[in-house]
Symmetry: D2
Protein backbone atom coordinates (compact mmCIF):
# COMPACT_ATOMS: atom_id res chain seq x y z
CA UNK A 1 0.00 0.00 0.00
CA UNK A 2 1.27 3.47 -0.80
CA UNK A 3 0.97 6.32 1.67
CA UNK A 4 1.99 9.84 0.85
CA UNK A 5 4.43 11.48 3.19
CA UNK A 6 1.87 13.93 4.48
CA UNK A 7 -0.39 11.17 5.83
CA UNK A 8 2.53 9.47 7.56
CA UNK A 9 3.75 12.77 9.02
CA UNK A 10 0.30 13.37 10.48
CA UNK A 11 0.22 9.87 11.92
CA UNK A 12 3.67 10.22 13.51
CA UNK A 13 2.64 13.52 15.09
CA UNK A 14 -0.63 12.02 16.38
CA UNK A 15 1.34 9.17 17.98
CA UNK A 16 3.79 11.57 19.64
CA UNK A 17 0.90 13.72 20.91
CA UNK A 18 -0.96 10.69 22.25
CA UNK A 19 2.18 9.34 23.92
CA UNK A 20 2.61 12.65 25.72
CA UNK A 21 -1.07 12.95 26.63
CA UNK A 22 -1.41 9.41 28.04
CA UNK A 23 1.80 9.58 30.05
CA UNK A 24 0.74 12.91 31.56
CA UNK A 25 -2.67 11.49 32.39
CA UNK A 26 -1.10 8.52 34.20
CA UNK A 27 0.57 10.95 36.62
CA UNK A 28 -2.58 13.05 36.87
CA UNK A 29 -4.76 10.05 37.70
CA UNK A 30 -2.26 8.58 40.17
CA UNK A 31 -2.22 11.93 41.97
CA UNK A 32 -6.03 12.08 42.10
CA UNK A 33 -6.21 8.54 43.45
CA UNK A 34 -9.41 6.62 44.13
CA UNK A 35 -11.15 5.35 41.01
CA UNK A 36 -8.65 7.30 38.86
CA UNK A 37 -5.85 5.04 40.07
CA UNK A 38 -7.63 1.76 39.30
CA UNK A 39 -5.19 -0.79 37.94
CA UNK A 40 -6.96 -1.40 34.63
CA UNK A 41 -7.21 2.32 33.85
CA UNK A 42 -3.56 3.09 34.63
CA UNK A 43 -2.40 -0.04 32.79
CA UNK A 44 -4.17 0.72 29.52
CA UNK A 45 -2.72 4.24 29.59
CA UNK A 46 0.78 2.80 30.12
CA UNK A 47 0.18 0.35 27.24
CA UNK A 48 -1.09 3.21 25.07
CA UNK A 49 1.78 5.58 25.85
CA UNK A 50 4.29 2.86 24.98
CA UNK A 51 2.69 1.53 21.78
CA UNK A 52 2.32 5.12 20.52
CA UNK A 53 6.01 5.95 20.80
CA UNK A 54 7.01 2.59 19.33
CA UNK A 55 4.58 2.99 16.44
CA UNK A 56 5.97 6.49 15.83
CA UNK A 57 9.54 5.18 15.89
CA UNK A 58 8.81 2.43 13.34
CA UNK A 59 7.27 5.02 10.98
CA UNK A 60 10.12 7.49 11.56
CA UNK A 61 12.66 4.76 10.68
CA UNK A 62 10.61 3.89 7.59
CA UNK A 63 10.29 0.29 8.78
CA UNK A 64 8.47 -2.30 6.65
CA UNK A 65 6.68 -3.33 9.84
CA UNK A 66 5.11 0.02 10.63
CA UNK A 67 1.70 -0.88 9.18
CA UNK A 68 1.42 -3.79 11.63
CA UNK A 69 2.36 -1.56 14.52
CA UNK A 70 -0.23 0.99 13.36
CA UNK A 71 -2.92 -1.68 13.42
CA UNK A 72 -2.04 -2.63 17.00
CA UNK A 73 -1.68 1.02 18.04
CA UNK A 74 -5.14 1.88 16.68
CA UNK A 75 -6.67 -0.95 18.71
CA UNK A 76 -4.96 0.00 21.96
CA UNK A 77 -5.73 3.71 21.45
CA UNK A 78 -9.45 2.94 21.01
CA UNK A 79 -9.49 0.94 24.24
CA UNK A 80 -7.63 3.71 26.07
CA UNK A 81 -10.00 6.38 24.72
CA UNK A 82 -12.91 4.37 26.12
CA UNK A 83 -11.20 3.90 29.49
CA UNK A 84 -10.68 7.67 29.74
CA UNK A 85 -13.96 8.99 28.25
CA UNK A 86 -16.29 6.45 29.89
CA UNK A 87 -14.65 6.67 33.30
CA UNK A 88 -17.22 7.46 35.95
CA UNK A 89 -15.04 10.31 37.24
CA UNK A 90 -13.78 11.60 33.89
CA UNK A 91 -12.41 15.14 34.18
CA UNK A 92 -11.08 17.62 31.61
CA UNK A 93 -7.64 16.04 31.42
CA UNK A 94 -9.06 12.57 30.84
CA UNK A 95 -11.39 13.90 28.17
CA UNK A 96 -8.46 15.62 26.44
CA UNK A 97 -6.52 12.37 26.63
CA UNK A 98 -9.46 10.45 25.16
CA UNK A 99 -9.53 12.92 22.27
CA UNK A 100 -5.79 12.46 21.63
CA UNK A 101 -6.29 8.67 21.67
CA UNK A 102 -9.17 8.87 19.20
CA UNK A 103 -7.20 11.11 16.82
CA UNK A 104 -4.23 8.74 17.01
CA UNK A 105 -6.45 5.69 16.45
CA UNK A 106 -7.98 7.35 13.39
CA UNK A 107 -4.60 8.26 11.89
CA UNK A 108 -3.14 4.82 12.66
CA UNK A 109 -6.17 3.07 11.14
CA UNK A 110 -5.41 4.82 7.83
CA UNK A 111 -1.84 3.52 7.85
CA UNK A 112 -2.60 0.05 9.20
CA UNK A 113 -2.26 -3.28 7.42
CA UNK B 1 -5.77 -18.67 25.99
CA UNK B 2 -4.06 -19.74 29.18
CA UNK B 3 -0.31 -19.67 29.61
CA UNK B 4 1.43 -20.87 32.71
CA UNK B 5 3.79 -18.44 34.40
CA UNK B 6 6.84 -20.49 33.52
CA UNK B 7 6.21 -20.16 29.77
CA UNK B 8 5.73 -16.41 30.05
CA UNK B 9 8.84 -16.04 32.22
CA UNK B 10 10.86 -17.84 29.58
CA UNK B 11 9.41 -15.62 26.86
CA UNK B 12 10.16 -12.42 28.77
CA UNK B 13 13.74 -13.54 29.32
CA UNK B 14 14.13 -14.49 25.64
CA UNK B 15 12.90 -11.01 24.65
CA UNK B 16 15.32 -9.28 27.04
CA UNK B 17 18.20 -11.44 25.76
CA UNK B 18 17.31 -10.74 22.14
CA UNK B 19 16.99 -6.99 22.80
CA UNK B 20 20.48 -6.98 24.26
CA UNK B 21 21.95 -9.16 21.53
CA UNK B 22 20.51 -7.15 18.63
CA UNK B 23 21.45 -3.78 20.08
CA UNK B 24 25.02 -4.98 20.67
CA UNK B 25 25.18 -6.33 17.13
CA UNK B 26 24.07 -2.96 15.70
CA UNK B 27 27.16 -1.35 17.25
CA UNK B 28 29.35 -4.27 16.21
CA UNK B 29 28.19 -4.11 12.58
CA UNK B 30 28.44 -0.30 12.39
CA UNK B 31 32.03 -0.57 13.63
CA UNK B 32 32.90 -3.25 11.04
CA UNK B 33 31.36 -1.14 8.26
CA UNK B 34 31.04 -2.21 4.62
CA UNK B 35 28.30 -4.75 4.01
CA UNK B 36 27.76 -5.05 7.79
CA UNK B 37 26.51 -1.46 7.89
CA UNK B 38 23.99 -1.85 5.06
CA UNK B 39 20.84 0.12 5.85
CA UNK B 40 18.43 -2.83 5.66
CA UNK B 41 20.54 -4.97 7.99
CA UNK B 42 20.98 -2.25 10.64
CA UNK B 43 17.31 -1.25 10.38
CA UNK B 44 15.89 -4.71 10.99
CA UNK B 45 18.16 -5.08 14.03
CA UNK B 46 16.91 -1.72 15.38
CA UNK B 47 13.32 -2.84 14.76
CA UNK B 48 14.02 -6.15 16.47
CA UNK B 49 15.75 -4.64 19.51
CA UNK B 50 12.80 -2.29 20.02
CA UNK B 51 9.93 -4.74 19.49
CA UNK B 52 11.64 -7.20 21.88
CA UNK B 53 11.79 -4.78 24.79
CA UNK B 54 8.24 -3.58 24.14
CA UNK B 55 6.94 -7.13 23.93
CA UNK B 56 8.74 -7.94 27.18
CA UNK B 57 7.25 -4.86 28.85
CA UNK B 58 3.69 -5.76 27.83
CA UNK B 59 4.14 -9.26 29.28
CA UNK B 60 5.79 -7.91 32.44
CA UNK B 61 2.83 -5.54 32.96
CA UNK B 62 0.42 -8.45 32.37
CA UNK B 63 -1.23 -6.54 29.53
CA UNK B 64 -4.19 -8.01 27.66
CA UNK B 65 -2.42 -6.98 24.46
CA UNK B 66 0.75 -8.98 25.02
CA UNK B 67 -0.30 -11.85 22.74
CA UNK B 68 -0.59 -9.45 19.80
CA UNK B 69 2.81 -7.99 20.54
CA UNK B 70 4.24 -11.52 20.73
CA UNK B 71 2.88 -12.30 17.27
CA UNK B 72 4.54 -9.20 15.81
CA UNK B 73 7.74 -9.81 17.77
CA UNK B 74 8.01 -13.37 16.45
CA UNK B 75 7.67 -12.14 12.87
CA UNK B 76 10.31 -9.41 13.24
CA UNK B 77 12.69 -11.74 15.09
CA UNK B 78 12.49 -14.29 12.26
CA UNK B 79 13.32 -11.64 9.69
CA UNK B 80 16.20 -10.37 11.82
CA UNK B 81 17.55 -13.89 12.32
CA UNK B 82 17.62 -14.31 8.55
CA UNK B 83 19.33 -10.95 8.02
CA UNK B 84 22.06 -11.97 10.48
CA UNK B 85 22.50 -15.66 9.62
CA UNK B 86 22.27 -15.33 5.83
CA UNK B 87 24.50 -12.26 5.64
CA UNK B 88 27.33 -12.82 3.20
CA UNK B 89 29.84 -11.71 5.83
CA UNK B 90 28.20 -13.30 8.88
CA UNK B 91 30.65 -13.59 11.79
CA UNK B 92 30.40 -15.16 15.26
CA UNK B 93 28.57 -12.22 16.78
CA UNK B 94 25.97 -12.15 14.01
CA UNK B 95 25.47 -15.91 14.31
CA UNK B 96 24.97 -15.55 18.08
CA UNK B 97 22.48 -12.75 17.44
CA UNK B 98 20.62 -14.92 14.90
CA UNK B 99 20.39 -17.65 17.53
CA UNK B 100 18.96 -15.21 20.11
CA UNK B 101 16.42 -14.01 17.54
CA UNK B 102 15.36 -17.57 16.70
CA UNK B 103 14.95 -18.47 20.38
CA UNK B 104 12.89 -15.32 20.96
CA UNK B 105 10.75 -15.97 17.86
CA UNK B 106 10.07 -19.52 19.10
CA UNK B 107 9.09 -18.37 22.60
CA UNK B 108 6.93 -15.52 21.27
CA UNK B 109 5.19 -17.83 18.78
CA UNK B 110 4.01 -19.96 21.74
CA UNK B 111 2.50 -16.88 23.42
CA UNK B 112 1.11 -15.24 20.29
CA UNK B 113 -2.49 -14.67 19.30
CA UNK C 1 38.26 5.16 33.34
CA UNK C 2 38.74 1.57 32.30
CA UNK C 3 36.18 -1.10 33.06
CA UNK C 4 36.66 -4.73 32.20
CA UNK C 5 33.96 -6.39 30.16
CA UNK C 6 32.89 -8.63 33.00
CA UNK C 7 31.96 -5.66 35.23
CA UNK C 8 29.97 -4.03 32.45
CA UNK C 9 28.21 -7.31 31.62
CA UNK C 10 27.17 -7.63 35.25
CA UNK C 11 25.92 -4.06 35.31
CA UNK C 12 23.90 -4.50 32.10
CA UNK C 13 22.29 -7.64 33.52
CA UNK C 14 21.53 -5.89 36.83
CA UNK C 15 19.84 -3.07 34.90
CA UNK C 16 17.73 -5.48 32.83
CA UNK C 17 16.76 -7.39 35.99
CA UNK C 18 15.83 -4.19 37.83
CA UNK C 19 13.83 -2.92 34.84
CA UNK C 20 11.82 -6.13 34.85
CA UNK C 21 11.38 -6.18 38.60
CA UNK C 22 10.21 -2.57 38.91
CA UNK C 23 7.81 -2.78 36.00
CA UNK C 24 6.27 -5.96 37.43
CA UNK C 25 5.96 -4.31 40.83
CA UNK C 26 4.13 -1.33 39.33
CA UNK C 27 1.39 -3.69 38.12
CA UNK C 28 1.44 -5.61 41.39
CA UNK C 29 1.06 -2.45 43.49
CA UNK C 30 -1.64 -0.97 41.23
CA UNK C 31 -3.60 -4.22 41.62
CA UNK C 32 -3.25 -4.17 45.41
CA UNK C 33 -4.38 -0.54 45.55
CA UNK C 34 -4.54 1.59 48.70
CA UNK C 35 -1.16 2.76 49.94
CA UNK C 36 0.54 0.56 47.32
CA UNK C 37 -0.91 2.74 44.57
CA UNK C 38 0.27 6.06 46.03
CA UNK C 39 1.43 8.39 43.28
CA UNK C 40 4.97 8.89 44.58
CA UNK C 41 5.58 5.16 44.97
CA UNK C 42 4.30 4.25 41.49
CA UNK C 43 6.14 7.19 39.92
CA UNK C 44 9.57 6.34 41.32
CA UNK C 45 9.12 2.75 40.10
CA UNK C 46 8.22 4.04 36.61
CA UNK C 47 11.28 6.33 36.68
CA UNK C 48 13.44 3.44 37.84
CA UNK C 49 12.17 0.96 35.25
CA UNK C 50 12.85 3.49 32.48
CA UNK C 51 16.29 4.71 33.58
CA UNK C 52 17.40 1.08 34.01
CA UNK C 53 16.62 0.06 30.43
CA UNK C 54 18.11 3.28 29.05
CA UNK C 55 21.26 2.84 31.12
CA UNK C 56 21.50 -0.77 29.89
CA UNK C 57 21.04 0.37 26.27
CA UNK C 58 23.80 2.99 26.51
CA UNK C 59 26.21 0.35 27.89
CA UNK C 60 25.13 -2.22 25.29
CA UNK C 61 25.82 0.30 22.51
CA UNK C 62 29.19 1.09 24.07
CA UNK C 63 28.25 4.76 24.33
CA UNK C 64 30.73 7.31 25.70
CA UNK C 65 27.86 8.63 27.83
CA UNK C 66 27.09 5.41 29.68
CA UNK C 67 29.02 6.41 32.82
CA UNK C 68 26.79 9.49 33.24
CA UNK C 69 23.68 7.38 32.80
CA UNK C 70 25.03 4.89 35.39
CA UNK C 71 25.45 7.71 37.90
CA UNK C 72 21.85 8.81 37.42
CA UNK C 73 20.59 5.22 37.41
CA UNK C 74 22.33 4.47 40.70
CA UNK C 75 20.68 7.50 42.32
CA UNK C 76 17.19 6.65 41.10
CA UNK C 77 17.58 2.95 42.02
CA UNK C 78 18.54 3.91 45.60
CA UNK C 79 15.46 6.08 45.93
CA UNK C 80 13.27 3.33 44.48
CA UNK C 81 14.76 0.72 46.82
CA UNK C 82 13.86 2.94 49.75
CA UNK C 83 10.33 3.52 48.46
CA UNK C 84 9.82 -0.26 48.22
CA UNK C 85 11.65 -1.47 51.34
CA UNK C 86 10.47 1.28 53.70
CA UNK C 87 6.85 1.18 52.51
CA UNK C 88 4.52 0.67 55.45
CA UNK C 89 2.82 -2.21 53.62
CA UNK C 90 5.91 -3.75 52.04
CA UNK C 91 5.26 -7.32 50.91
CA UNK C 92 7.50 -10.02 49.43
CA UNK C 93 7.31 -8.64 45.90
CA UNK C 94 8.25 -5.14 47.02
CA UNK C 95 11.14 -6.51 49.09
CA UNK C 96 12.37 -8.48 46.07
CA UNK C 97 12.10 -5.32 43.97
CA UNK C 98 14.04 -3.34 46.59
CA UNK C 99 16.78 -5.98 46.44
CA UNK C 100 16.96 -5.74 42.62
CA UNK C 101 17.19 -1.94 42.89
CA UNK C 102 19.99 -2.14 45.45
CA UNK C 103 21.97 -4.62 43.34
CA UNK C 104 21.53 -2.39 40.28
CA UNK C 105 22.53 0.73 42.23
CA UNK C 106 25.68 -1.03 43.45
CA UNK C 107 26.67 -2.19 39.96
CA UNK C 108 25.91 1.20 38.41
CA UNK C 109 27.89 3.02 41.11
CA UNK C 110 30.99 1.02 40.06
CA UNK C 111 30.56 2.14 36.43
CA UNK C 112 29.51 5.73 37.15
CA UNK C 113 31.40 8.93 36.38
CA UNK D 1 14.32 25.53 41.21
CA UNK D 2 11.01 26.75 39.88
CA UNK D 3 10.06 26.47 36.24
CA UNK D 4 6.85 27.77 34.83
CA UNK D 5 4.74 25.33 32.87
CA UNK D 6 5.32 27.15 29.60
CA UNK D 7 9.09 26.61 29.77
CA UNK D 8 8.67 22.92 30.52
CA UNK D 9 6.11 22.51 27.73
CA UNK D 10 8.56 24.04 25.28
CA UNK D 11 11.33 21.76 26.52
CA UNK D 12 9.17 18.63 26.21
CA UNK D 13 8.22 19.59 22.66
CA UNK D 14 11.85 20.30 21.75
CA UNK D 15 12.80 16.84 23.07
CA UNK D 16 10.04 15.14 21.07
CA UNK D 17 11.04 17.05 17.93
CA UNK D 18 14.71 16.19 18.39
CA UNK D 19 13.89 12.52 19.03
CA UNK D 20 11.99 12.41 15.75
CA UNK D 21 14.63 14.34 13.82
CA UNK D 22 17.59 12.23 15.01
CA UNK D 23 15.84 8.91 14.46
CA UNK D 24 14.85 9.95 10.92
CA UNK D 25 18.42 11.08 10.23
CA UNK D 26 19.79 7.69 11.36
CA UNK D 27 17.77 6.03 8.60
CA UNK D 28 18.68 8.76 6.11
CA UNK D 29 22.40 8.43 6.82
CA UNK D 30 22.35 4.62 6.78
CA UNK D 31 20.67 4.77 3.36
CA UNK D 32 23.27 7.23 2.00
CA UNK D 33 26.12 5.05 3.31
CA UNK D 34 29.80 5.92 3.10
CA UNK D 35 30.91 8.56 5.58
CA UNK D 36 27.27 9.11 6.59
CA UNK D 37 27.13 5.59 8.05
CA UNK D 38 30.28 5.94 10.17
CA UNK D 39 29.80 4.21 13.52
CA UNK D 40 30.46 7.27 15.70
CA UNK D 41 27.99 9.42 13.77
CA UNK D 42 25.18 6.85 13.84
CA UNK D 43 25.85 6.03 17.49
CA UNK D 44 25.61 9.60 18.77
CA UNK D 45 22.33 10.02 16.87
CA UNK D 46 20.98 6.82 18.49
CA UNK D 47 22.12 8.09 21.91
CA UNK D 48 20.51 11.46 21.22
CA UNK D 49 17.19 10.03 19.99
CA UNK D 50 16.95 7.88 23.11
CA UNK D 51 17.97 10.45 25.74
CA UNK D 52 15.52 12.95 24.20
CA UNK D 53 12.48 10.70 24.57
CA UNK D 54 13.53 9.65 28.07
CA UNK D 55 14.10 13.26 29.12
CA UNK D 56 10.68 14.15 27.70
CA UNK D 57 9.05 11.25 29.57
CA UNK D 58 10.58 12.28 32.91
CA UNK D 59 9.28 15.84 32.44
CA UNK D 60 5.86 14.60 31.29
CA UNK D 61 5.60 12.44 34.42
CA UNK D 62 6.64 15.40 36.55
CA UNK D 63 9.56 13.41 37.95
CA UNK D 64 11.88 14.93 40.56
CA UNK D 65 14.75 13.61 38.46
CA UNK D 66 13.91 15.47 35.25
CA UNK D 67 16.45 18.26 35.84
CA UNK D 68 19.27 15.71 35.91
CA UNK D 69 18.02 14.10 32.72
CA UNK D 70 17.83 17.57 31.11
CA UNK D 71 21.47 18.22 31.97
CA UNK D 72 22.54 14.95 30.35
CA UNK D 73 20.22 15.50 27.39
CA UNK D 74 21.68 18.96 26.73
CA UNK D 75 25.20 17.53 26.68
CA UNK D 76 24.35 14.69 24.30
CA UNK D 77 22.34 17.01 22.02
CA UNK D 78 25.31 19.40 21.71
CA UNK D 79 27.59 16.54 20.72
CA UNK D 80 25.04 15.26 18.21
CA UNK D 81 24.56 18.74 16.73
CA UNK D 82 28.32 18.92 16.16
CA UNK D 83 28.43 15.45 14.61
CA UNK D 84 25.70 16.47 12.14
CA UNK D 85 26.69 20.08 11.37
CA UNK D 86 30.46 19.54 11.16
CA UNK D 87 30.20 16.34 9.12
CA UNK D 88 32.30 16.62 5.96
CA UNK D 89 29.29 15.52 3.86
CA UNK D 90 26.56 17.37 5.78
CA UNK D 91 23.40 17.70 3.71
CA UNK D 92 20.09 19.50 4.30
CA UNK D 93 18.65 16.75 6.49
CA UNK D 94 21.72 16.65 8.71
CA UNK D 95 21.69 20.44 9.03
CA UNK D 96 18.01 20.33 10.01
CA UNK D 97 18.81 17.64 12.56
CA UNK D 98 21.68 19.74 13.95
CA UNK D 99 19.25 22.64 14.35
CA UNK D 100 16.75 20.43 16.23
CA UNK D 101 19.56 19.21 18.50
CA UNK D 102 20.71 22.77 19.23
CA UNK D 103 17.17 23.92 20.05
CA UNK D 104 16.70 20.92 22.34
CA UNK D 105 20.06 21.50 24.03
CA UNK D 106 19.12 25.14 24.65
CA UNK D 107 15.72 24.26 26.13
CA UNK D 108 17.18 21.45 28.26
CA UNK D 109 19.97 23.69 29.54
CA UNK D 110 17.32 26.05 30.96
CA UNK D 111 15.67 23.17 32.85
CA UNK D 112 18.87 21.41 33.92
CA UNK D 113 20.27 21.01 37.42
Amino acid sequence: MHHDNHAMDACIQACLDCHRSCLATVSHCLAKGGSHAEARHIQIMLDCAQICIVCADFMIRGSDHSAHLCRECAEICRECATSCADHSDADDMMRASAAACTRCADECAKMAA
